[in-house]
Structures are given as C-alpha cells and as structure tokens.
C-alpha cells in the first residue's frame, strides 16, 4: 500500500499540473454579440419615380451609426451581382432608403426583379465601423417600367 502511494502520488500531482497547462485560449465571439440582424425588410417599387423604397426594423440601435442596403439581381442573393449602398443616415431611427433604379439598371430594361437586404454598421469602443449581419430574408421588388 505504501509503495503504491509512493508510486501514484507524484503521477497524480503531475497529471493535475499538466492538465491545467493549456497554452492556447479558446476564441470568443462576445465582442461581435452586439451586432444584430435587421428584420422585416420590405421593398416597394414606384413606377412614377423609378425608385424602390426599402424599409426595415432593428430592435436595438445602440452603437448603430449607419446602414448598408445591398441589392442583388438573383434570388440566391450572393450568387447574383451584389452591390452595397451606404445609407449615410443622419437619423438612425429613420429606417428607410430610397434606391434609384435608374442608377442601377439601364433604361432599356423593361422588367426585372431586384432583391434587397440590410446590414447595420456599428461604431463603439471595440467595433470600428463594423458591418453587422444581414437580414435573413431579402425583400424582392418587381421592377416594371412603362
């Protein structure tokens, strides 16, 4: 018994010491946890002005300094031709953006569907104009020119 204790004790101590000696830290995503996805993105096209009015909601606007509206010509958003537009919002609570179709589509296109999604831009101590996650469901707008 005494011999077993003499044999096992140093090994047990070593096991405890060595087990606690991990030299790498696990990554943490907490600093990005503030970033939220906008919801309820709606896009409505006005034929008279050739403008799409994009609206959305976001629950928490703390640290939000701007929004990015992205437009794609594909229902599978990232598979299409994606263009981001910064809203340059002066009032963050005004969650809307007027998208001028004439700057995106040539005049000879009579009819197409465009897809819109929105991301918030964050600025705070840890985030430097960080672009947050996109809204889950892109909004579609049927463009039908006369």
């Amino acid at each position: 018994m005494k011999k077993s204790i003499i044999f096992l004790t140093p090994i047990l101590i070593l096991f405890i010491v060595v087990s606690c000696s991990k030299e790498h830290d696990a990554p943490t995503f907490s600093k990005y946890g503030i970033a939220q996805k906008p919801a309820n993105v709606v896009a409505s096209y006005d034929t008279d002005t050739d403008i799409v009015n994009v609206t959305w909601d976001i629950i928490e606007t703390t640290s939000v300094v701007d929004f990015i509206v992205s437009v794609s010509d594909s229902s599978d958003f990232d598979m299409g031709n994606v263009n981001p537009y910064i809203t340059h919002s002066t009032d963050i609570t005004d969650m809307s953006y007027l998208f001028e179709v004439k700057n995106y589509l040539s005049a000879d296109v009579d009819s197409t569907i465009l897809y819109f999604t929105v991301s918030a831009v964050y600025k705070e101590e840890n985030l430097n104009y960080f672009i947050g996650p996109r809204a889950d469901v892109p909004a579609s707008a049927l463009i039908k020119r006369d």
């Binding site: 011999k3 003499i6 044999f7 140093p10 090994i11 070593l14 096991f15 060595v18 087990s19 000696s21 991990k22 030299e23 790498h24 830290d25 696990a26 990554p27 995503f29 600093k31 990005y32 970033a35 991301s119 840890n126 985030l127 430097n128 104009y129 960080f130 672009i131 947050g132 996650p133 996109r134």
Partner: protein
Amino acid sequence: MSILRGFVITGLTLLLLINSTGSVLAQDEESFVRRSIVSKKDAIVLSVIYPGLGQMTAGQKYKGISLFLAETVSLIFTINSHENYRTKQKVYDKDMIEFNNIAKQQSGEYNDALEQYNDLKDRNDELDNLNTVRNVALIAAVAVYAYNVVDAVFLSSSTSESRQVDNGKSKIVVRSTIIDKNPGILLSKSF
C-alpha cells in the same frame, strides 16, 4: 486522434509485454542471480539514469528491455506531439490576432468574423486533443520512469551484497540474496 489511438495500442502492448515477462522472470530468478553483474546500488543508479538499464544489468533482461522501450516510445510521443502542438499553436495564435483585429479594422464584416470564429473553434478543439495526447505521453513517460525507480528500489528480488573472495587461483563470489522474499546465501565460482 489516430496518434492517440496508436499511442494507446503501443502502451497496452508494452504493458502486456511487461506483464507477461513478469511470470517468466519469476521463474528465472536463479538465472537472474547468476547473471547479475552489478550491485543493487549500481542498478538503482543506472535505472535513475534511464529506465530499464538497471534491470538489464541486474539480470532482469526482459523487464529492462520493456521498460527501456516503454520509456523511449513515451518520450518520442511526448516530443513529437509537443512539436506538433507548438507548430499548430503558432499558426492558431497568429489567426487569433487577425480574428480579434476584424473588430478594430475599419469595415470589418460580420460574416468574415463568424467564418473565422468557426474555423478557430475547430482548431481550438484540435489543439485540445493534441494537448491531451502530449500530456498523456508525458505522464506515461513519468509513470514508466517512476515505476522503474520504484521497481529498482523496492520491488526487485535482487542481490543485496556481493563480495569476491580470493581463493588463490580462482575467485569465489559470495552473495547474500533475497529471492521471492526468502533470504539466503549464494556461492558461485567461475571456471
């Protein structure tokens, strides 16, 4: 995980070898006494220098070889897994800094951060496994070493003293022995 599996299989094989040679050695104690070429004190010193050396020189050839191999394999695994761990850790630390900088750099994107986070999480798990392999190998090496020393000091049935008597032309060796806990005296003469 294949490294760990390999290590476990090798370790078990060596343990079986040590275990199986134990019974052979028990029957071979007399030959052990005959083959002993060093005193117990010297055997302990040799065992402290490297596991198995003391047992081998004291006549416990199979046990000595088993301990020697077990220690060598454990040390190879320890060094190899340690180097592997350190190499991967350096790359991991570099990518970790990049990941943390996404927040600081202007216009860093959430999707990039998420992708890198998931990648780092997987690699963190891999590093955890490598760390475990390294620790197990190190502990095995220490355990073999400790067993070897304890074996040399407490467990071996061995000669405690030997004295050579000059009898004119030939030498007679007188040894006080303990075989299977039975004390006795062994006289041997070389022709």
